[in-house]
């Protein structure tokens, strides 16, 4: 028997990735640096939560291919969201543009999937409700259909 008959490593290769007919995502990876973290932290310290929210949603990293950057930004967004008081959420959402509403909805869903703390879910549910009131079903559908994830 040949030497390679005893190894079974070949069974772990995903042959589909080598199929030339596969759909390749054409969009080039944009090198986004993400939001300015010091600016966000400063806004949070000065209790300017709405400003912190707007800053953290700038320079979106959705089109990046860097998972560590994305996770860092995600954790920062969760921190900003949890620092809002329940009564302030609605006014904060009202100050966001349509694109920012869609982006924040993506973070909310990622937050559901990967909870960063024990009591983040009720906070996220409140944000989800307020974002849904503005963005409608379309914002949720865009979270599901967009291949560029946060």
């Amino acid at each position: 028997m040949s030497k390679t008959a005893s190894t079974r490593e070949f069974r772990k290769v995903d042959v589909d990735q080598f199929n030339e007919d596969n759909f390749q995502d054409e969009t080039a990876a944009e090198e986004s640096q993400g939001p300015n973290e010091t600016e966000v932290n400063n806004s949070l310290q000065s209790k300017n939560n709405t400003q912190a929210l707007k800053t953290v949603l700038q320079n979106p990293v959705a089109s990046c291919r860097n998972p560590e950057l994305k996770t860092r930004v995600f954790k920062l967004v969760m921190k900003v969201l949890s620092l809002f008081k329940s009564s302030e959420v609605e006014t904060a959402v009202a100050s966001l543009s349509a694109v920012e509403v869609d982006l924040l909805m993506k973070y909310v869903y990622r937050g559901f999937a990967e909870p960063t703390s024990d009591n983040i879910c009720p906070i996220l549910l409140l944000w989800h409700e307020k974002l849904f009131a503005v963005g409608g079903y379309g914002s949720i559908v865009r979270v599901l259909t967009n291949r560029q994830t946060v």
């Binding site: 759909f23 969009t27 379309g138 914002s139 865009r142 259909t145 967009n146």
Partner: protein
């Protein structure tokens, strides 16, 4: 005003009207095409059943000039049906596909038709007199996924295709064997067969699958709807300027221009919606379903349980507020008036076919203005 017909309990997959709009050919999610006629009492009766496909029928188009019906199915075939001695006789068209056909449309002069398929190919089929046979040519590049819908430009040469690789494209489908050289169009000058004239994204970012494409009445504009709940329009007369509208609603799966500036789209919201395209911008005007437009009532789950607890109500209503009880999957133009299309028909997965009279709806629904 709106003419509601419950054709069947089965979903209507696709439908198409004949020239004088007295007959409608439709498929009830099975392998057959049925031709329905309305009798004096307003009831729809099945006049003919066209059996031929060995798998689900996915697209029907009735040629209003040649009175031929072309159907395509998941069995990778297309048939052209002709009425002979009060019977519909099929002619098989070899599409040379190895996947299902998804959509079919006659060209404006009805000498050829386009079939989109899951094989990432559009088959353009034309009739060859010498051999008494339908031949086909393929458009392959650069389509990367299933073709979900096709629509012809009024000049009979340019074809738009919506595909599930998140793009809407415009191709030239000039078949030199059967037609004269076309004039240059606003979409492009080089009209060689299979030439890609324009490519547009489904929506902002990646977008979603492009479910439907539609050319405006004079062919200068193209509209498409994507699964990302967006509708978009491109104007070839303004250098292919694209206007995208991300809607707050569930995705639409079909769209149709009713005038040069108004589009009707419909889908999972179960009602047709009117959009207006002007000044490079798209905006939602109103929904066509008067039942829903009149009262804005959002019922949350919490309030529903509160009501059940307070009033002791045990039953939950399963009907939806709109006329269509389920998603709409095709819009067709029924008749044209002075401004543009004034009657449209929608078929849905609830088995209903509803004809909407846009002129009378414009008068009755506040805020509905067709530009």
């Amino acid at each position: 005003m709106t003419d509601i017909s419950q054709i069947s309990t089965f979903p209507i997959t696709c439908h198409s009207w004949n020239a004088d709009k007295s007959l409608v050919a439709l498929s009830l999610n099975d392998n057959d095409v049925r031709i329905y006629k309305r009798d004096g009492t307003g009831k729809w009766n099945c006049l003919h059943t066209l059996e031929g496909h060995s798998n689900r029928v996915t697209g029907i188009d009735w040629g209003v000039k040649n009175n031929k019906i072309v159907t395509c199915g998941a069995d990778r075939n297309a048939y052209v049906w002709q009425l002979q001695d009060n019977k519909w006789k099929p002619t098989l068209v070899l599409l040379r596909l190895n996947r299902a056909a998804t959509c079919v449309r006659w060209s404006p002069n009805e000498a050829k038709f386009a079939v989109g398929s899951a094989a990432r190919i559009i088959s353009i089929c034309y009739y060859e007199e010498e051999n008494n046979w339908w031949l086909c040519k393929h458009i392959k590049k650069p389509i990367r996924s299933t073709v979900l819908s096709v629509d012809w430009h009024p000049n009979n040469v340019i074809l738009a295709a919506g595909t599930s690789d998140y793009k809407a494209r415009v191709f030239s489908a000039y078949v030199k064997e059967i037609e004269a050289k076309p004039e240059a169009s606003t979409w492009g000058k080089k009209l060689v067969f299979g030439n890609l004239l324009a490519e547009f994204p489904a929506g902002t970012g990646n977008g979603g699958w492009v479910h439907s494409v539609s050319f405006s009445p004079n062919g200068n504009k193209l509209a498409w709807v994507g699964h990302c709940s967006s509708i978009a329009a491109a104007d070839s007369a303004s250098d292919n300027q694209v206007a995208i509208l991300d809607c707050n609603l569930l995705p639409m799966v079909t769209c149709l221009w009713v005038t040069e500036n108004s589009i009707v789209g419909a889908g999972f919201d179960c009602q047709p919606l009117l959009f207006s395209h002007g000044g490079g911008q798209l905006s939602l005007v109103a929904g066509l379903d008067s039942k829903v437009s009149s009262k804005e009532k959002t019922v949350t789950a919490m309030s529903m349980f509160k009501d059940m607890d307070k009033k002791g109500a045990g039953e939950v209503s399963t009907s939806v507020a709109t006329k269509h009880q389920s998603a709409i999957n095709e819009i067709r133009s029924v008749s044209k008036g002075s401004k543009g299309v004034n009657k449209i028909s929608t078929s849905g997965t609830d088995g209903q076919m509803i004809v909407w009279n846009l002129d009378s709806l414009e008068k009755s629904i506040e805020g509905l203005r067709i530009s």
